[in-house]
């Protein structure tokens, strides 16, 4: 069998984005990871030596750190790091114009709706195809404002000083095993720099996609918002379905300087064999606002806890997440707010749905350091169970070491009731339509925060997930 028929044979049905293109790779590293592979990646990318050294150091940390002993250890220990390709380079160079993008790659984008998205409201697109950005454009408006929006590899070449100054400062390699792995083998991801006072009116979007079988996706994203600036970055993530498990382990660092405002929106719809182990962290300085809007659909195991470190007086951090866990899936998602300055505030809203035996966990941390007085924090977790086989857990941790802190925590677990279904069915809806309406309603608070096109897409994804889930 040639590789593509082999892959086709492995495609599971039922996942709408399970199409795949024949791989046209210029370079593919061998399976597994050692120092040679790390060096090779750095060499292929013609990186400065400091980055190569950083990668090697991270690789050693990755090797030395044990697997986390919390979360879903059963799933975690099933990951075979030797059975993964860590670097794939699909085309020779980054394309600047849509017309120049190779046809097969374009087809993939067509299927996930990229050109439409662009026509409608794009400020600039960085679409990541496997490990390199192949299509990338910034509109003139952004350039005029001095905003940099590019892929991380290009940023390292063109703005090495800025990258060197901030890379890994929020999430060092030593933070956790998967952050170390990402630092060792990272490829692609977005780099955004918003200069002082610049207001980016339209969301910057990137659409990530894991294509090659057993490809790890280790994108690295860094967003810096200078004083008084504002930016909204949005990404979707879709992986086609293959029989072999793959690993998605990204690192996202946000730096919000005084008075700036960063919103980072993700809608993830990974196929059900992907391990999704992502570290996302932001630092908010004086009077800065950071918002994480994080939607998790699909994947086999997701462990993701977007964090905001509030280090400047008056800073605010808001984290809104939703998760849908279906058969064989575990969404272990949550949020962290670390208060290290006075007069700071934050909210965490988590919405999760479990169905068909799926498992959704909320894992959260609220920590208030002694110097942080007059802090306000509000945590709300709502879980909806669609059947008896499914599971929902909450693991909220609160460490309050300061006075004058107002903490509100609310949690609810509900089930779809027979009476609710009957009410909807008496209005002409079939049972499945009724369930979908209740589920969409449950996520409404989340969907309202998305640009219209994304909320429509989210509704459609939920509808697909719901099909056939009611007997």
């Amino acid at each position: 069998m040639n590789p593509s028929t082999q892959a086709a044979a492995g495609i599971k049905t039922g996942y709408q984005y399970g199409f795949h293109d024949e791989e046209k790779l210029v370079f593919k590293s061998r399976k597994g990871l050692d120092e040679r592979v790390v060096e090779q990646i750095s060499h292929m990318k013609e990186e400065p030596s400091w980055m190569r050294d950083k990668r090697l150091e991270a690789y050693r940390i990755f090797k030395s750190k044990p697997m986390p002993a919390w979360g879903d250890t059963e799933f975690l220990n099933a990951i075979d790091f030797d059975d993964i390709y860590y670097y794939l380079k699909p085309t020779e160079k980054i394309e600047g114009r849509w017309e120049d993008v190779p046809e097969s790659i374009k087809n993939t984008f067509e299927k996930i709706g990229i050109p439409e998205a662009e026509r409608k409201f794009l400020a600039g697109v960085t679409a990541q195809y496997d490990s390199e950005a192949v299509y990338h454009r910034i509109n003139e408006e952004l350039k005029k404002q001095g905003v940099i929006f590019t892929d991380m590899d290009t940023a390292l070449k063109e703005y090495p000083d800025v990258v060197k100054r901030y890379f890994g400062t929020i999430i060092p390699s030593s933070d956790n095993k998967f952050a170390a792995l990402n630092t060792a083998v990272w490829s692609g991801g977005s780099f955004v720099y918003v200069p002082k006072g610049a207001q980016v009116a339209m969301p910057l979007q990137a659409y990530f996609r894991i294509n090659a079988q057993k490809a790890g996706q280790f994108e690295r994203t860094l967003i810096i918002a200078e004083e008084g600036s504002k930016v909204h970055y949005i990404e979707g993530c879709t992986a086609p379905t293959y029989a072999a498990d793959s690993l998605h382990s990204a690192v996202v660092e946000l730096i919000a300087m005084p008075g700036s405002h960063i919103r980072y929106t993700t809608i993830q719809n990974l196929s059900n064999n992907v391990y999704n182990l992502v570290t996302k962290r932001a630092i908010a300085r004086e009077d800065a606002i950071v918002e994480w809007v994080d939607g998790n659909l699909g994947s086999k195991l997701t462990m993701k806890y977007p964090a905001v470190y509030l280090v400047g007086k008056g800073a605010r951090g808001d984290i809104l997440s939703c998760a849908l866990a279906g058969e064989g899936q575990h969404q272990d998602a949550g949020a962290k707010l670390i208060f290290a300055a006075p007069h700071t505030s934050g909210t965490i809203i988590s919405k999760s749905i479990s169905k068909d035996g799926g498992r959704a966990s909320y894992r959260g941390l609220v920590k208030v350091h002694p110097q942080a007085h007059d802090v306000k924090v509000n945590v709300r977790c709502d879980a909806l169970l669609l059947d008896e086989m499914s599971r929902s857990d909450t693991y909220p941790t609160m460490e309050i070491d300061s006075k004058r802190v107002r903490v509100e925590h609310e949690a609810s677990v509900s089930k779809i009731g027979e009476e609710q279904l009957f009410y909807l069915m008496s209005r002409g809806l079939k049972e499945q339509e009724a369930v979908t309406m209740i589920v969409n309603g449950f996520f409404d608070q989340f969907a309202r925060e998305l640009p219209l096109e994304y909320s429509v897409e989210l509704n459609r994804l939920i509808q697909l997930e719901m099909e056939g889930s009611v007997g």
């Binding site: 069915m425 209005r427 309406m437």
Partner: protein, 254 residues
């Protein structure tokens, strides 16, 4: 011409316990029927059974709509045949707006989607008839609604869906006099020569506004007495105990 609604010797049990014990009732197009009776007499059970609630098991008898036996149909198919149930305790649907809910219901019941403009126009018209603020359309269905708001929303749905047969289960309960007047006028606007209404109520009050052609008194899972609108007034004056006495007297005379 078959009756709009025909209920034949209907027996209904909930969790094996018999509640309805042989109900027969015919409603023709253009008629308004009031079904009265004390609490616990089975009035609401009849409403639910007509709509097809899965927990209400029909153990004998049938329900026909325009001659078609619907006894075994699921609720959504009954809705699509033009049956509407106004709930005594409508459920809340957090995150689902009134406008979205009604639009989805209209699409499901009528099988075709109205354009968003036409829909908005219809909704606005019906809402103003019911003296509802426009903001109402963006609120979540019954989420944090007062009792009166919930009942208004039921009537709004009925007005938009324009059913052939509307069963209104205690739509008047918990309403102040102004809300009662608005709700009653909404019912009267839906009533017409082509449809029928079954008004289930404990009190005579709403019948001052909605004039029924027939009044039935429900007792122990059966219709104990049927008559014209004057019977409602008599019930109001004498209470349900009057029926009891009447039954005893009838038994003594036989």
């Amino acid at each position: 011409m078959p009756a709009l609604l025909e209920i034949e010797n209907l027996h209904v049990a909930v969790k094996g316990r018999p509640i309805l014990k042989g109900v027969s009732l015919k409603i023709q197009k253009g008629e308004i029927h009031a079904l009265m009776g004390p609490n616990g007499s089975g009035k609401s059970t009849l409403s639910y059974a007509v709509m097809g609630h899965p927990r209400y098991e029909v153990t004998d008898g049938k329900i026909l709509i325009e001659g078609r036996d619907i006894t075994a149909l699921p609720p959504f198919e009954r809705a699509r045949l033009g049956i509407f149930l106004g709930f005594q305790y409508p459920m809340s649907l957090p995150g689902v707006s009134v406008a979205n809910f009604i639009r989805t219901a209209m699409k499901s019941v009528k099988g075709a989607e109205a354009g968003i403009r036409d829909f908005r126009k219809t909704l606005r018209e019906k809402m103003s008839l019911l003296e509802m603020d426009e903001k109402f359309a963006t609120r979540y269905v019954n989420d944090g609604f007062s009792g009166g708001e919930k009942k208004r929303l039921e009537i709004l749905q009925m007005a938009c869906l324009a059913p052939k047969l509307a069963v209104l289960d205690e739509t008047d309960s918990g309403l102040d006099i102004d809300a009662l007047r608005v709700v009653a006028s909404g019912i009267m606007k839906t009533a017409g020569p082509e449809n029928g209404i079954l008004l289930v109520t404990h009190y005579q009050r709403i019948l001052d506004y909605v004039k029924p052609h027939f009044v039935h008194v429900f007792k122990d899972g059966r219709i104990a007495e049927s008559g014209g609108p004057e019977m409602a007034l008599e019930l109001e004056k004498k209470g349900y105990a009057w029926l009891e006495e009447k039954a005893v007297a009838a038994e003594a005379a036989s």
